[in-house]
């Protein structure tokens, strides 16, 4: 942001000059029929809508050549792109000069890791943000998820039917997560990344352990605490991404509740509703009996009403441990004191 703050005023002093230069470019590039045919046979439109660009966030600030350096002169110097992917690659660097922080984040993303593998689907900045029509992100909020849907259609369709997706798309809810809330926007991560996976309970907890966010929905905020206190959560807490075999060691939130298809816990289709729970347990605990799910306290803290036996054993030790240890320590102190007195 600092860099941007430095650069923006400099750019702002010369909007008129930039506009003149841009008009020169548009003299050719406004032509709707202008295309570039690459050696691969791929055809790329070279048309730019001047009005759209002027209305974008960059319109008042940037000249064409800020992003397209080396094209000041006509005829443009010859380029040796063979494919569309090669043609687009340099623009990632074009954004970097102003948006350096987000660029470095993007370098950590699963998308960027596709690049060296030569995956032509690896998105560049403009695939998500647009090129000449860059607009402020998240307006409306659903646009974020729809952007991902351009490539991740299947996931989006599943998400759209989930409790989160329905609230977003049908009620324009500002409370539910869009894709980027969980997967991040630039350092996009996913379940193939052990570190991302192991912090996913905290990710869910960001909202589900937040009293303010959960109050309107009447949802318990103890879900994270009770998960962590149980065998699964304890295992997840001690697992480390540096030991990749531990990433899938234990059940995370999503293993029981689902991922993109998360449903309300009272939805008859939910994986964690009582009728379906044993099936969900059996995904890991092969051969689990009908009484096995009772081993899990369903995010309830033990009380006389819920899991009374667990509560009573806990209460017994709350009293018994201080009684025993206190008594022993008292005897030790008295013994020592008497020996001192004897001297």
């Amino acid at each position: 942001m600092d860099l941007l703050a430095l650069v923006l005023p400099l750019l702002a002093v010369a909007p008129a000059a930039a506009q003149d230069a841009n008009d020169a470019c548009l003299a050719c590039h406004a032509d709707a029929a202008l295309t570039l045919t690459l050696p691969s046979g791929q055809v790329r439109s070279m048309t730019v809508n001047g009005a759209v660009f002027a209305g974008s966030v960059h319109g008042p600030r940037l000249a064409c050549t800020d992003c397209h350096p080396g094209h000041q002169d006509y005829p443009h110097p010859e380029r040796t792109y063979r494919t569309l992917a090669e043609y687009r690659a340099p623009f990632r660097e074009a954004c970097k000069s102003c948006h350096f922080e987000n660029y470095t984040r993007m370098v950590d993303s699963v998308h960027y890791k596709l690049l060296p593998q030569g995956d032509p689907r690896a998105p560049s900045c403009s695939d998500c943000h647009g090129a000449h029509d860059v607009s402020p992100p998240g307006q409306p909020r659903a646009a974020l998820s729809r952007t991902c849907a351009q490539c991740h259609r299947g996931v989006f369709d599943t998400y759209a039917k989930s409790v989160h997706g329905q609230a977003l798309l049908e009620r324009q809810s500002a409370d539910v997560p869009v894709c980027t809330d969980c997967h991040r926007s630039h350092a996009v991560g996913g379940p193939h990344d052990a570190a991302w996976l192991l912090q996913s309970p905290q990710l869910c907890g960001n909202c589900h352990a937040d009293e303010k966010k959960m109050a309107p929905y009447g949802l318990s905020t103890r879900v994270l605490k009770t998960y962590l206190a149980d065998f699964h959560g304890m295992s997840a807490s001690l697992s480390r991404a540096e030991r990749p075999q531990e990433a899938r060691l234990t059940a995370l939130c999503t293993d029981c509740h689902g991922v993109h298809d998360i449903a309300r816990v009272d939805d008859p289709g939910s994986r964690v509703v009582k009728a379906n729970l044993v099936k969900t347990c059996r995904r890991c605990h092969e051969g689990a009996s009908e009484s096995f799910p009772a081993a899990w306290l369903s995010h309830y803290e033990p009380s006389l009403k819920r899991a009374p036996l667990v509560f009573m054993v806990q209460a017994f030790y709350w009293v018994f441990i201080p009684f025993v240890i206190g008594g022993l320590v008292l005897q030790i102190v008295l013994h020592f004191w008497r020996l001192v007195v004897n001297r």
């Binding site: 605990h285 081993a295 667990v310």
Partner: protein, 253 residues
Amino acid sequence: MSDSVVRFSVRQRLEHLTVMVLFVLLAVTGFPQKFYDAGWAGTVVDALGGVPRVRWLHRAAGLLFVALTGWHLALAVATAATKRVPLSMVPTRRDFRDVVTSLRYYLRLSERQPRFDRFDYREKFEYWGLIIGALVMSATGLLLLFPILVATYLPGELIPVAKVAHSNEGLMAFLVVLTWHLYNAHLAPGVFPFNPTIFTGRISRAHLREHHPLEYERLFPIEALARAREVRPDGPPPAAVEEKASPPAARDA
């Protein structure tokens, strides 16, 4: 005449050594699981090479501990049944009287100190604490090790019950060792820095006389009587020697 007496057999010494090693191993691999959110828990797990290995170590040590407990109890029951040894670990009414006498002495309500036999009430408390603790830990540990099997025949709720009991009982055992055992076997004046008897198996005659006078008098009645006369040449022999219900030879046999 040797200056020391055999107090523990080789088997008893090895049992203590094994239980000591297993106890430490179980604590080191168990507490990071109980206190998973503490910084040191992660450090310990990382040092031991990760969660699966910590768990494997805990379960292996736990199963050995179950085996040791079973072996010890089976042997104790067998020897008791054949009456080849006196049941010197069984708490008696005298032990409860000794607790009261000790406390009165500590509080300076009385100058009379209890005179102990082979095992004093502190040793008996720790022994039975360990036995009962071992039974609780073994039972709950096995429930936790085989949750699917357990839930096939018993209510599933027993598993979180076992978890709470295992976790708390383990903490209590650790705290008892940290306070009671550490004080009585290491830190108490007269014992410091440590009482080697459980490792060497031998106790010096002077220690025996001081800490287990009744046993001493039973083992060395003539010497005890002679010493008593030496200390108080004109007085009568110590009451304890006369008080004894049965002749020393019969109880020792």
